[in-house]
Subunit: 215 residues, 2 copies
């Protein structure tokens, strides 16, 4: 029932051709237009508000908002309630993203970005094989996403972090750390190499993860 009313409400709003920022009709008016009770309309409105499609503004009442594609996604990404297969799928998504972002990264990264990345790498201790620390991983890989200039990627990455930590725990059990190519090596590739070099480096860096994938 709630699903049906939600769909009706969406269609009604679309037909009215409301743009982001437009005020919404009053609850009573919507209830009449959809032929349902105010309580039912309120529930449907609540769902759209939850998805970020509707906002309530002081003095202006409800308006149609710019929807936030990741807001709803964020709410279900809780490793405590996700099944193992989904966690695995999402972890693979992260591997795929990191292998695939080279071209956009090279296109958009700035000198400033490289300096920041360098200072992140400098903060990591050790010279050859840095001891594995989640904090370092997040700082380094998060910066890479940010350097793509794509805010959706960046937010996606921060949502995938709980998943990441779940897999890091697994890694500790297996005793597997990262591959031969370190964060510093990747930084050097970004400074002087090509997107192809970077992909090869990243593949080497993520190797223990790729080896753990089932066939």
């Amino acid at each position: 029932m709630a699903d049906v009313v939600e769909t009706k409400l969406r269609e009604y709003l679309k037909k009215k051709a409301l743009k982001p920022g437009s005020p919404l009709p009053k609850e009573l008016e919507l209830a009449e237009a959809l032929g349902v009770s105010r309580n039912v309309v309120r529930e449907a409105l609540s769902r759209l508000r939850m998805l970020g499609m509707i906002e309530t503004r002081k003095k202006r009442g409800m308006i149609l908002a710019e929807p936030d594609v990741l807001k709803a996604f964020e709410r279900v990404l809780d490793p405590l309630i996700l099944d193992k297969q989904t966690l695995q799928d999402l972890f693979e998504l992260r591997l795929v993203l990191e292998m695939g972002l080279a071209d956009i990264l090279y296109r958009r990264m700035t000198e400033e970005d490289l300096k920041e990345l360098e200072s992140i790498v400098d903060k990591e201790t050790g010279k050859v094989r840095t001891p594995f620390k989640v904090k370092n991983e997040i700082a380094f890989h998060g910066k890479l996403y940010q350097m793509t200039g794509n805010t959706t990627f960046l937010r996606f990455q921060s949502m995938l972090l709980p998943i990441f930590e779940y897999v890091v725990d697994l890694r500790k059990k297996d005793g597997i750390l990262s591959g031969k190519v370190t964060h510093r090596d990747l930084l050097e590739i970004l400074k002087t190499g090509t997107p192809e070099d970077f992909r090869q480096g990243m593949k080497e860096h993520l190797k223990p993860h790729f080896e753990r994938l089932n066939r």
Copy 2:
């Protein structure tokens, strides 16, 4: 207010350590535990149901479900209501995924998969430069996602299709078709080449899109 109660409810359910399949406490019990009215609890439950975290089963009442990470995401992915920047971000996400999936693809694809992909390519007309058809694009690229064995990717791809069509329209305006490497070339690479060859081929195939990216 609704947000606060939703968060409280989530915490309450977590503290109770319910597993997927467990029955939920009754509305009245939840209202008392959270110190709010039944109406407010009902709204919070409706939100969780919408995210696929709760299901209602005949005779058993509400149970905690295996949440569906993509269900909520799907509901906001409507190109008519997304702003241009988000559409662009999502389109870039698709480019990144296609560049990044080579390793998982090679690990999991089967002889059967290659045969199916071949029959998809055979159905496309033309020999050197196939005329650009959304239907062909969807069939070929969708099959690649499916071959990764990762159902989350596959569903993601089908959700990104509206975005894809939006960009295809743009391409028509620009008069840009696909790169020199065709679907058939990519198939040949899958049969005899390495993941690196595939990435190079895919980059060539997607070249017009990469060239359109801003810096």
